[in-house]
């Protein structure tokens, strides 16, 4: 009888320790789970010189598939001779996409400006953005996400300055 009571005691202690461990482990892992849940591409529209540029996370599956399709069909630009497609100028200077969460089918980073694409995935290569389709798609999504200032939107509509 005494032995049975001791066994019961040990069982409860063990049960308590295991439950506590599981709880603690879950608590520790919770933020990591949230981080893992993040997906999509970080898109930065290069507009400003002083202020931070507008960014958004592109998560929409349809757009991601559309983008993947356009990128896979983009032809290599053999004639591009500059170091980067992003110009050192004031005003709009292109779009940079960072694949921070390793979305399958995309390079780690790519940049687009007026028909030229720069792919960075270990090595750098240059492609052609036919009819500015990729740039147009990303700018459209930036506008829809509401990250572009109203003043700039008006200027875009009016084709102001350049």
């Amino acid at each position: 009888m005494l032995i049975h009571l001791e066994m019961k005691k040990i069982f409860y202690i063990l049960f308590f320790i295991i439950t506590l461990s599981i709880l603690l482990c879950n608590l520790k892992e919770a933020p990591a789970d949230n981080e893992n849940n993040k997906k999509g591409l970080k898109v930065t529209v290069l507009l400003f010189s002083g202020r931070p540029d507008p960014t958004f996370l592109l998560e929409d599956e349809d757009t991601l598939n559309q983008l993947k399709d356009l990128l896979s069909k983009a032809k290599t630009n053999e004639k591009f001779e500059q170091a980067t497609v992003i110009p050192s100028i004031l005003g709009y200077k292109g779009i940079v996409v960072d694949n921070l969460y390793s979305v399958a089918g995309f390079p780690s980073r790519f940049a687009i400006y007026k028909g030229n694409i720069e792919i960075k995935d270990g090595e750098t290569k240059f492609l052609i953005d036919e009819e500015n389709k990729i740039e147009g798609l990303l700018l459209d999504r930036a506008i829809r996400k509401g990250v572009i200032d109203k003043r700039i939107l008006k200027r875009m509509e009016r084709r102001e300055y350049k």
Binding site: L46, L47, G50, T84, S88, R151, Y161
Partner: protein, 363 residues
């Protein structure tokens, strides 16, 4: 014979000028005790110091170093807002290998020395103090001589390493005061044999004009993507996309000339004097605003031309039309959807000749 006289007068005058400029100017050195000396810098006579030390490459084993100590004068003290600098050469644990090395003097580029403070309480102004009681060390100063921006501290007797650890010597702390905050410099420490060693120390920061050398900024990575036009104009890498006024807790709220200009002044930048030239070796920078949208800065490089860094892109010396920038006010500052139409003015910042090493407190 008569014609030669004006030339000889001219020659003599030039000689006198040369002698005046190169002559050593002895600084007034007084002995003080700790903690009394702290009362010059803090009404409570307790100072908070920042220490750094660098080894002196003398032929010795064990440890030896030049210690630099800095602190700021607190409100209510005679040195309010000024920067205190103290130095000490410590060879106590240095052990000579083939002979016992000794140090006779130290030269440091310090710039203007504050000469209005009374360190020993005798009612007259002093320039250099030596803490001969209440602190470390046993060797004081024989003299402190200033030539141009350099000060030579000659020790009252050679500071020597020992035959075994703990047998070496240390100077007392010797100090002086500047209006400028500290930066890193290379001090020269002279052995009695005549050998001179370069040792890192801290002294009042020296402003300089940077050359146009964009490769430092155009790394295609961390530096390029995290430093904007304000970083570039100030020639200071922070990797934080620095914003005017943020470091001072006075960031602009609206993108107007007045607000961004005043935010930069809160960071410590100074408006350009009427002369059109920045004082104290500071660098000239220019501010423009696209009202309500963004701001942009240019900097004047050594050589007289301007350059800029449009946001996270590469630094360049060309404007939006691809022309070199001789005057930012006439440069093409309009691109797609943005145009920096409003010229806000010129400011002066404490930049540096080395890229990314500017001295303004921006963030």
């Amino acid at each position: 014979m008569m014609n030669k006289k004006p030339f000889s007068y001219l020659y003599m005058s030039a000689l006198v000028l040369v002698v005046l400029f190169t002559a050593a100017c002895p600084l007034k050195v007084v002995n003080v005790s700790a903690p009394d000396i702290n009362c010059v810098f803090d009404p409570s006579c307790r100072i908070t110091v920042t220490d750094s030390s660098a080894p002196i490459p003398i032929p010795a084993e064990g440890t030896n170093f030049l210690q630099s100590r800095t602190f700021v004068g607190k409100p209510g003290s005679p040195a309010n807002g000024l920067y205190g600098y103290e130095y000490r050469i410590d060879l106590r644990n240095a052990v000579g290998i083939t002979y016992i090395p000794c140090i006779s003097s130290m030269i440091i580029e310090f710039g203007p020395v504050v000469s209005t403070l009374d360190y020993d309480g005798d009612g007259s102004s002093d320039q250099v103090f030596v803490i001969t009681s209440g602190g470390l060390g046993s060797i004081g100063l024989a003299s402190a001589d200033k030539i141009g921006n350099e000060i030579t501290f000659t020790f009252s007797s050679p500071v020597c390493a020992g035959g075994r650890p703990g047998d070496g010597q240390s100077t007392y702390f010797f100090g002086l005061v500047s209006t400028k905050p500290p930066g890193f410099v290379t001090a020269k420490v002279k052995e009695t044999t005549g050998t001179v060693y370069n040792v890192q120390a801290r002294a009042p920061q020296k402003c300089g004009i940077p050359p146009y050398n964009p490769s430092y900024w155009n790394d295609g990575g961390t530096i390029q993507h995290n430093n904007n036009c304000y970083n570039y104009a100030n020639n200071k890498r922070t990797d934080t996309y620095a914003q005017p006024g943020r470091a001072a807790g006075a960031m602009y709220s609206n993108l107007t000339c007045t607000e961004v200009y005043n935010a930069a002044i809160a960071d410590g930048l100074v408006p350009l004097p009427a002369s059109g030239n920045c004082p104290d070796g500071k660098a000239k920078i220019a501010l423009f605003v696209d009202p309500g949208v963004d701001y942009h800065w240019y900097r004047l490089d050594r050589g007289g031309m301007w350059s800029h860094k449009p946001g996270a892109t590469q630094a360049t010396n060309l404007d939006n039309s691809g022309n070199p920038i001789s005057n930012p006010e006439t440069a093409d500052r309009c691109g797609d959807w943005l145009c920096y139409t409003d010229f806000c003015g010129y400011l002066c910042c404490c930049s540096d000749e080395i890229q990314g090493q500017g001295h303004e407190n921006i963030n």
